[in-house]
């Protein structure tokens, strides 16, 4: 088939799909392709996961391949370590961000460092799926952005998709990775839709590549996961103010794509990091420092951060005041007119 014909066929078959469906499809395709892949977690079986990401997997592949476990996150991840030691590729679900905390010891003391402590003899190909972030009206412990904890742990890859296509491609790449991956799923994008062809799902760049979602000349918004659509919206709104913003979707926090990020900031000379998690000790501090180290002579203004406040995640009725929105991003963009103000 010619490229044009293939493209036409893809377009024809493309129909709206949600991120949750694409994630489910990635799990299904991985299970079908590789008998070593096993899905486990609380409620992943008959219920299909509380977000329905694992819907139908137990029915299709049986309880041994998609397993409802006892309710115990350390146990889920700890047994996954043993399964990986025996040659399987476990994909575990943590159900909600804050529910993953009981599993931190297993993650940090074993999952992240088994390859290193055995000098390469025993890598652990485990994917830890963690639905994260706010904006869905979740009560306490259902909306945390815990990416900084994972980023601070050597040995883990940390990735987060922002589009339906990336959700599929990145999850496939994570499961195929010989290293452990913390796969952060932005909860409020689970039901975001895009035209996506389930018959010809596309692979994406290997883990570790950022992507420019919108090109622009005046400044770069560096962002990921749930904040990507917000930044794209802000960029559209900024046009009226005379700003032509570039939006970089990091996709992978570890490893970090310095090249794409630095190239963008050198082009625009200005940068704002945008994320939901708190600013103090948060991912933005690391990203701003990296950008400053690499692009200092190209910068027209300090690298700014637009983050959630440094507070425990607020109750749902107040979360709209906490989450970085279009206005807060535009305020920061306005502050990038450094020369004029100083």
């Amino acid at each position: 088939m010619s490229t044009v014909a293939a493209e036409r066929a893809t377009k024809k078959a493309a129909k709206p799909a949600t991120m949750a469906q694409a994630l489910g499809r990635a799990l299904r395709d991985s299970l079908a392709e590789d008998p070593a892949v096993h899905v486990l977690g609380e409620d992943v079986g008959a219920l299909g996961g509380v977000f329905r990401v694992t819907d139908g997997l137990t029915k299709e592949f049986g309880e041994d391949r998609c397993t409802d476990t006892p309710l115990a996150e350390a146990g889920i991840l700890g047994t996954a370590v043993g399964m990986a030691m025996y040659g399987l590729r476990p994909v575990v679900e943590m159900q909600f961000d804050a529910f993953a905390y009981p599993a931190f010891e297993q993650l940090i003391s074993h999952v992240a460092r088994m390859r290193n402590r055995t000098r390469g003899a025993m890598p652990l190909p485990i994917t830890v799926r963690v639905p994260y972030g706010g904006g869905i009206g979740g009560v306490e412990h259902h909306s945390d952005s815990s990416e900084a904890y994972y980023m601070a742990t050597p040995g883990l890859h940390v990735v987060t998709p922002a589009t339906v296509a990336d959700a599929y491609g990145l999850l496939r790449a994570s499961i195929a990775s010989d290293d452990p991956v913390v796969f952060l799923e932005p909860k409020r994008l689970y039901w975001s839709k895009a035209d996506w062809n389930p018959d010809a799902p596309q692979a994406v760049d290997p883990i570790g590549k950022a992507v420019v979602r919108r090109t622009g000349r005046s400044a770069t918004l560096l962002t990921y996961g749930p904040s990507v659509p917000v930044c794209l919206e802000a960029a559209e709104a900024a046009v009226a103010e005379g700003w032509d913003l570039e939006v970089v979707d990091l996709r992978s926090l570890v490893p970090f794509d310095d090249e794409t990020v630095a190239a963008s900031v050198r082009r625009t000379g200005r940068a704002v990091v945008v994320h939901e998690s708190g600013g103090f000790g948060g991912p933005g501090g690391e990203i701003a420092a990296r950008v400053t180290e690499r692009c200092f002579h190209h910068l027209e203004a300090p690298v700014l951060r637009v983050a959630g406040f440094d507070i425990p995640y607020p109750p749902p009725m107040l979360e709209r005041h906490h989450l970085p929105g279009v206005d807060r991003i535009l305020d920061a963009v306005a502050r990038l007119q450094w020369e004029a103000d100083s």
């Binding site: 146990g75 700890g78 030691m85 025996y86 010891e105 055995t118 390469g120 890859h157 290293d179 310095d258």
Partner: protein, 387 residues
Amino acid sequence: MTVMEQRGVYRPTPPPAWQLRTDPAPLLPDAEPYRVLGTEAAGKADEELLGRLYAQLVLGRRYNTQATALTKQGRLAVYPSSTGQEACEVAAALVLQERDWLFPSYRDTLAAVARGLDPVQALTLLRGDWHTGYDPREHRIAPLCTPLATQLPHAVGLAHAARLKGDDVVALAMVGDGGTSEGDFHEALNFAAVWQAPVVFLVQNNGFAISVPLDKQTAAPSLAHKAVGYGMPGRLVDGNDAAAVHEVLSDAVSRARAGGGPTLVEAVTYRMEAHTNADDATRYRGDTEVEAWRAHDPILLLERELTERGLLDEDRRRAARDDAEAMAADLRERMNQDPELNPMDLFSHVYAEQTTQLREQAAQLRAELEASDADDADDADGEENAR
């Protein structure tokens, strides 16, 4: 008729979930630790096995004293001795088939050695030369685990995975009395029982978690009793009676292999030395207690049995002693050689493929090393010129 009118005559039928799912009685451990040596059961014990256990106990004791001596010479960063607990260590290794897996804690180097691991490789972690000195898959011995009880869910997962693959593999996981208080102990036992995984949990109750005695660790009648709540059998055994530990563990391994599910074995023993060479045991326990356990030493118990049955003459004693001395001499000699470490290995095994960030850092270290080599060369030249 209203609900109020029904009161007094309404007799609810208990739903099925009210019934116990398992009769707890068969899961309960014996009231006393099971013993073989010095009892009638000893007469039935296999002579060849007793001889093998004896040789391994003597070897194990010598290994413990040698490793402790190496800490005093600065050759080991730390050594948690298993002196007094050799019967548990040796039996744990001997009940496993080659295809089975051992999940040791940091105190269980001897079990790894008894399973056939090179003593120097077993001591790599404690020497400070990297963390695991062997390929776990090659020896089917998980890395020595320093966090408490976190290796137990690994054992469950591995055994579960093996069974899913149709392999006839059993995992034996070792933990101390203190480790039974950890959440991972609970989660591992619960998963194992629910999945009916072929796992054996061996708790070496040696009396203390560093300085905290058992009565401040648990209010359970015994640690073996904890099994009942998970729906698996608990067995209580004299941990200094090598024949008894071997028999109880063998039964548990056979049961697991046959699809009978997990077992929790509590071996009651005593840590004769301090927690590690860095600890002062006189602060938390008295001599009387230690002396009472010295009279119940695992080697002494087995020697008495073998002698009474005419199975141990001076030749056999000497042979066991000579083997142990040869092992100790070899260990001493090889541990006294400085290991050659490559600093660049720091970056080699963090990920399958180095990240850009790690490549940059590796380049930085390489430059530092080259600069330092150049300095050394300059210094050598300087000394040469000064002469």
